[in-house]
Amino acid sequence: MNEAEFAYRIRQALDEGASQVDYTVSLRLEKARNAALDRSSASAAAPVWVPALQLAGAGGRSTERNGSALASWIFRFGMAAPLVALALGIVGIKQWQSDNLVAEVADLDFAVLLDDTPIDTYAHSGFGVYLRTEQASNAM
């Protein structure tokens, strides 16, 4: 008897053994199978959360590609995009405020240099404070 014939007879015995498993085993296997099927159908029926950016870029085809590598990357990008936008916004606001401050100081310096500053300005106590603060910051 060669290997294939021997294996075929072993296979028959194994098939017979597999068909005669205990009732408790059959029951547990059936429960496991139903639970597995529920997981499958539940995941298929569940609404898929689509990030706004992904929806805008991919149109209505996003669900077709759900599960693929591309969809995964788009999903990750959709998750990260709002954070990136927030960070860029904060940096932009800071830069805008800084530019405004520089422009105000430049206007003031320019007015002083051109002697356009009203005479009352020199008498104002705040102007003296401003000058001392500027000198202190320049000295540092």
């Binding site: 021997f6 072993i10 015995a13 496991a32 639970a35 597995a36 099927l37 997981r39 499958s40 599960g67």
Partner: protein, 187 residues
């Protein structure tokens, strides 16, 4: 994509063989059932969108991986137990326990067929001897001749060469024939 009915039909046809394979490997009914359940979950969650024709090979691979995961977890657990009990393992750290794992006489699976009728006894003895094969030999033999995988598919599932599959199958056949002959069973 497999429908729910197709997936159910496939699992119903494959679950008992998967259970038996897991039982041959781990020799504990509850652990074997857990392995099969885990494999079913993995298949339905991750691969239910695949065509029906791909399911048998996928499920076979998932079951084999689940069995390997079980042994890995068991190895980690036994390593910690060894550390705390100060008992040294008789095998080296690098040795693969699946290569030389032998059945223990008197185990639950070995005694399961004792009260069966004659045919049932023969089936039980065959299952027992299959269970006693070294793990890699048994895995190759069952994948090749019970799951009907070809040599290349078996090699891919076992993550070894096709030559190793042939060697494992040949050795398993010889060992099984010898063991059955010694117990008075001629096929």
């Amino acid at each position: 994509m497999a429908t729910r009915a197709e997936l159910s039909e496939f699992l119903a046809g494959a679950e008992r063989r998967a259970f038996k394979q897991a039982l041959f490997a781990v020799r504990d009914q509850d652990n074997a059932l857990d392995i099969v359940q885990d494999a079913m979950f993995r298949l339905s969650e991750s691969y239910s969108d695949r065509p029906v024709g791909e399911l048998p090979l996928l499920f076979t691979r998932i079951v084999q991986n689940a069995i390997l995961d079980f042994f890995r977890r068991q190895k980690v657990r036994s390593t910690w137990i060894t550390l705390f009990s100060a008992l040294s393992s008789p095998e080296g750290e690098d040795s693969d326990p699946l290569e030389s794992l032998e059945a223990q006489p008197g185990s639950a699976s070995a005694e399961s067929a004792q009260d069966q009728v004659e045919r049932g006894q023969v089936v039980g003895i065959i299952e027992e001897e299959v269970s006693r094969l070294p793990a890699r030999q048994r895995e190759a033999f069952l994948l090749r001749y019970w799951e009907d995988l070809d040599v290349a598919e078996t090699a891919a599932t076992m993550k070894c060469s096709e030559g190793s599959v042939k060697t494992h199958c040949s050795r398993a056949t010889q060992a099984l024939a010898k063991a059955l002959r010694a117990r008075g069973i001629e096929l």
